[in-house]
């Protein structure tokens, strides 16, 4: 029996090649998208699971609250004294390990001098917590002594080639020597952080580096990634409930605007395996994924598969009249309805199986594309496990049944007498059902078009928005304390080149985040009172404002002509508002206290987008710190250039750098490159949206193409008669297209509110966003109608051109 079904199925598929091709192609593309997205999703879900104890490792995060009780900052990092006290106060902590990213660090071995980004100080037990293979050196002791360093395989190779790296010495920041004591395997790509260089944590105890005192008492330096390992099945609520008391006990004397610690700060435990998709703190070790993206892409995959299934339902029921006779004969001979249903389901499952097998082949071709677009490193291997493969290979049973059940039920209920007498005509409810399916497909396509356009608009909006500063022709470089003494001379040398306009220093630069904040006091009735708002801090020198072309609303910039400017402040308008002052005019000249330092407000900047447009403009304060020997509050030099004679400008820059800082690598970045990175996630999303929207529309069109071909073939005689009676080609094309265009119209009406709702929600993630324009909907509707018209008219014109004598003879 099954052999017989199989035979009939294969022969039927071969006999109706166009329809079979459309079905197979649609399902194949649908499955390919699904596999592609499944690969992506499984990879996203696999983050940090490589760790043997993944389920028992937690990261401690810290949230800050302002005077009004609003959470203003959430960090994935905490300050070092927590690490000092946690293991003693919480005996259930089995292991604790800390990582501190020390930022761009130059490393030199012989003549190799390079800047490294992923340099961390790490506790010696890091490899007890994270399951990373140590290739050379003793994992238990390699990071025990100060000034020891472990490298990834790749980094070791970069500096030492084929030489044995162990016991070689790297010079760090031209300040300290680091002895290589081990080599470890790179953290896997699905880890939430990827240290290349691990310096022993004990190095920090050296007072020239950071100092033991700081490790115990500096509650303000929230830069330490702190991971703890807890017993299996431990209830973390238990520990979190004891955090407030812990904070108040150890942070006595650390009041912030007059509140005790547990009122303005909070600690939380974050599961290691939740970090990649669920953590959205303001500071992450590396950019994370987002569970929302996982949901969106899953939905897209299912939608595309649904469209392919709809094609199958549509085309199968449409051409069911061709099979009516076969059904009739089978029934007369004795087939039960159940047997016929099984037969038709078998056909759809068979086709679906073929589709998924071809899709696996296609995946090899398209996965590299997705990797390029998304910057991911996805591999098909993630699918090649039986836990994944088995359900995948069985999925055609479900998908095939979904696509084939309606046609099967529909066809198996044909009346044998009618089908055999040729009286049979497909009509009535089945035609309306097909219309519902076509409307569904087009509604989905229209939603995808609207979505794509709005994502694109928002992206363009963010890229072209007026930022309040000038991001063009700005070069940034790392600043080091070694330049403290020679800085003015360095700057003047640069400015001798007429193409170098301004040179300034700051702790942070626009396109970055604003994460530093201290307590602020403003004049009250008779004393200074705490400011409840959270004001972010940037250390900036005289030239920061001119480099970025930031506009002053009132007052003045720091000036070399005033000796006292190191104790003065500049606010932005957002800060003025947050403090509760009415105008910029009344602000300038007021006393202010920030970070326990008293001074005057000398100017108010107009608001500008220091951070990306995802964030609202934060209250900001600029302060010019007094110089301290061998230390610096500045991290970056920003250089405004004319944009002319770039080669000679860069050469001046290089020569000057090498003259003043020969021991640090010469490295620069254009600010607009940073700027582009701000919206890289949206850019990727846009590309992927657009691609999948096109695929969905294409599959829908294939279905429409097949359906219209069939619908028109049913009307050949009518077309013939109309032509004999004097209808012209355009009239007939209009007649045949009208029905389908009406369906697109209905689809639009259904799609608009759904698209509006979805995009309105999506836009809520942006502090600065576009308004959804009505014409986007109109254009999407027209585009869909146009696509439908082209698809249908291709068939309609063909039918209308036929000589009526020929079409009437088909009777």
């Amino acid at each position: 029996m099954i052999k017989n079904y199989f035979k009939i199925a294969i022969r039927n598929l071969l006999r109706h090649r166009l329809i079979s091709f459309i079905n197979l192609f649609g399902l194949t593309v649908g499955f390919t998208c699904c596999l592609l997205i499944l690969t992506y999703i499984l990879n996203e879900l696999s983050y940090d699971r490589y760790n043997k104890n993944a389920d028992n490792i937690y990261r401690i995060t810290r949230t800050f609250y302002n005077g009004n009780g609003d959470a203003t900052l959430k960090l994935s990092t905490i300050s070092p004294p927590f690490g000092y006290y946690l293991p003693t106060d919480f005996p259930e902590i089995q292991k604790m390990t800390r990582l501190l990213n020390i930022g761009t660090t130059s490393l030199r071995y012989k003549d190799k001098l390079l800047n490294e980004q992923d340099v961390y100080c790490a506790d010696e037990n890091i490899f007890d917590v994270f399951t990373i293979k140590v290739l050379k050196g003793n994992p238990a002791t390699a990071l025990k002594d100060p000034f020891c360093v472990m490298l990834t395989e790749e980094t070791a190779k970069k500096y030492f080639g084929d030489e044995d790296p162990i016991n070689k010495v790297l010079r760090g920041n031209n300040q300290f020597d680091l002895k290589v004591t081990g080599v470890f395997k790179n953290f896997p790509s699905n880890a939430h952080l990827h240290p290349d260089i691990l310096i022993s944590f004990n190095t920090l105890k050296d007072s020239a580096v950071y100092g033991e005192e700081n490790l115990r008492k500096n509650w303000g330096n929230n830069s330490f990634l702190t991971y703890i390992m807890l017993p299996e099945n431990y209830n973390v609520k238990n520990m979190e409930a004891r955090f407030p008391a812990f904070l108040d006990k150890h942070m006595a004397g650390q009041e912030y605007i007059g509140q005790q610690a547990s009122k303005f700060t909070k600690l939380d435990l974050q599961k290691l395996t939740d970090i990649h998709l669920h953590s959205h703190t303001d500071y992450e070790a590396e950019p994370n994924g987002d569970i929302k993206r996982v949901y969106i892409f899953s939905a897209i995959a299912l939608i595309i598969l649904l469209i392919a299934c709809i094609n199958y339902m549509n085309l199968s029921t449409a051409r069911s009249s061709l099979r009516a006779r076969e059904i009739g004969i089978r029934k007369v001979i004795g087939a039960r309805k159940k047997e016929l249903i099984l037969q038709f389901l078998g056909e759809s499952v068979l086709l679906t199986w073929a589709a998924i097998l071809i899709a696996f082949g296609l995946l090899y071709v398209v996965l590299p594309w997705l990797n390029t677009v998304s910057g991911q490193n996805l591999s098909i291997d993630i699918l090649l496990k039986w836990q994944v493969l088995l359900p995948l290979l069985l999925s055609p049973i479900i998908v095939g049944a979904l696509a084939g059940l309606y046609p099967a039920l529909f066809m198996s209920s044909f009346q044998p007498i009618k089908t055999l007498k040729g009286l049979f005509k497909v009509g009535g409810s089945n035609i309306s059902f097909r219309k519902v399916l076509v409307v569904t497909q087009f509604a989905i396509s229209i939603i995808l078009i609207i979505t794509t356009v709005i994502v694109f608009q928002q992206l363009k909006f963010m890229q072209n928005a007026s930022l309040g500063y000038n991001k063009d022709h700005i070069i940034t470089m790392a600043y080091s304390a070694q330049l403290n003494n020679g800085y003015e001379s360095f700057r003047n040398t640069l400015l001798q080149n007429p193409d170098i306009k301004e040179v300034g220093r700051s702790s942070r630069i626009p396109t970055g985040r604003l994460l530093d904040g201290m307590d602020a006091y403003a004049p009250g009735n008779d004393s200074m009172i705490p400011v409840k708002a959270d004001i972010r801090y940037v250390a900036a020198d005289y030239d920061f404002i001119p480099v970025y072309g930031i506009q002053m609303a009132e007052g003045r910039n720091f000036s070399r002509e005033y000796g006292t400017d190191t104790s003065n402040f500049i606010l932005n308008e957002a800060a003025v508002k947050a403090i509760g002052w009415k105008t910029s005019q009344e602000t300038v000249g007021k006393n202010f206290r920030y970070d326990n330092m008293d001074g005057h407000i000398i100017g108010v900047m107009k608001d500008f987008h220091f951070e990306s447009l995802h964030q609202t403009i934060a209250p900001l304060i600029l302060k010019m710190p007094a110089p301290v020997p061998n230390q610096t509050y500045y991290n970056a030099i920003s250089i405004k250039i004319s944009g002319q004679h770039l080669a000679s400008t860069l050469s001046t820059l290089k020569q000057t750098w090498e003259k003043y800082q020969p021991d640090l690598p010469y490295q620069y970045t254009f600010l607009d490159e940073n700027f582009d990175k701000l919206y890289a996630a949206e850019q990727t999303q846009e590309t992927i949206f657009a691609t999948f929207a096109c695929i969905a529309i294409f599959i829908a069109c294939l279905g429409l193409f097949g359906l219209s071909a069939f619908a028109i073939s049913q009307r050949i005689k009518e077309i013939g008669i109309r032509k004999v009676l004097g209808a012209n080609v355009s009239g007939i094309v209009g007649l045949l297209s009208k029905d389908f265009l009406m369906l697109v119209g209905i689809a639009s009406v259904l799609a608009f509110p759904i698209a509006w709702y979805a995009m309105n929600n999506w836009l809520k993630d942006f502090a600065y966003r576009i308004d959804i324009q009505w014409w986007v909907f109109l254009i999407a509707g027209i585009a869909a109608a146009l696509i439908a018209f082209v698809t249908v008219s291709f068939q309609a014109i063909k039918a209308a051109m036929v000589n009526p004598v020929k079409s009437l003879r088909t009777e």
């Binding site: 029996m1 076969e326 001979i333 007498i417 055999l420």
Partner: protein, 225 residues
Amino acid sequence: MIKITNLEKIYRTEEVETVALNKLSIEVKGGEFVAVMGPSGCGKSTLLNILGLLDDPDAGSFVFNGIEVAKFNERKRADLRKHNIGFVFQSFNLIDELTVFENVELPLIYTGVKSADRKKRVEEVLDKVQIMHRRNHYPQQLSGGQQQRVAVARAVVNSPKLILADEPTGNLDSSNGNEVMQMLTDLNEQGTTIVMVTHSEHDARYSHRIIRMLDGQTVLENIMV
């Protein structure tokens, strides 16, 4: 074998009501060869469909082999049909996607006969209708006469007690037509009951008895001698 009493069948559309069978009573005994004749629209095809358990009557009784089947549901009818009744149609009604052998094999598949037995029985009947040499051809590759021989083979492969033939020679030339009539006569002589609808007086003469119908009723019965 067949006894129908006061059988009624009415076709309804929104505006028109057509009485296809009007209190019809007929009896066919086992081993008989009965021809049903009458003008188009007299109800003879409806009668054949009800006899073949393809359609159910609106009223009246239909006893098949001593069982009242008028109220059987579709599943029961299908079961009864596939074991007891073979069909031969004017337009042959072979499945285009299946070969001659596979078409004839189909009823045995639905009755659950094992593969080896099927092969034996299909070959036997194909031999009997002399189409064995075309066993791997598709229906379109055969002449009309050959197709109808395949259809007859398919109707008898299950050894049904009753064969219902709906104008079996309607699409055939006279020599092919005679060949098919001879095959039916041979089957009847081997004990199979046959009810045949026909327009052809010539074909009707192969039967034992002719039932003439008009407007859903029998008007005359001729016993052939």
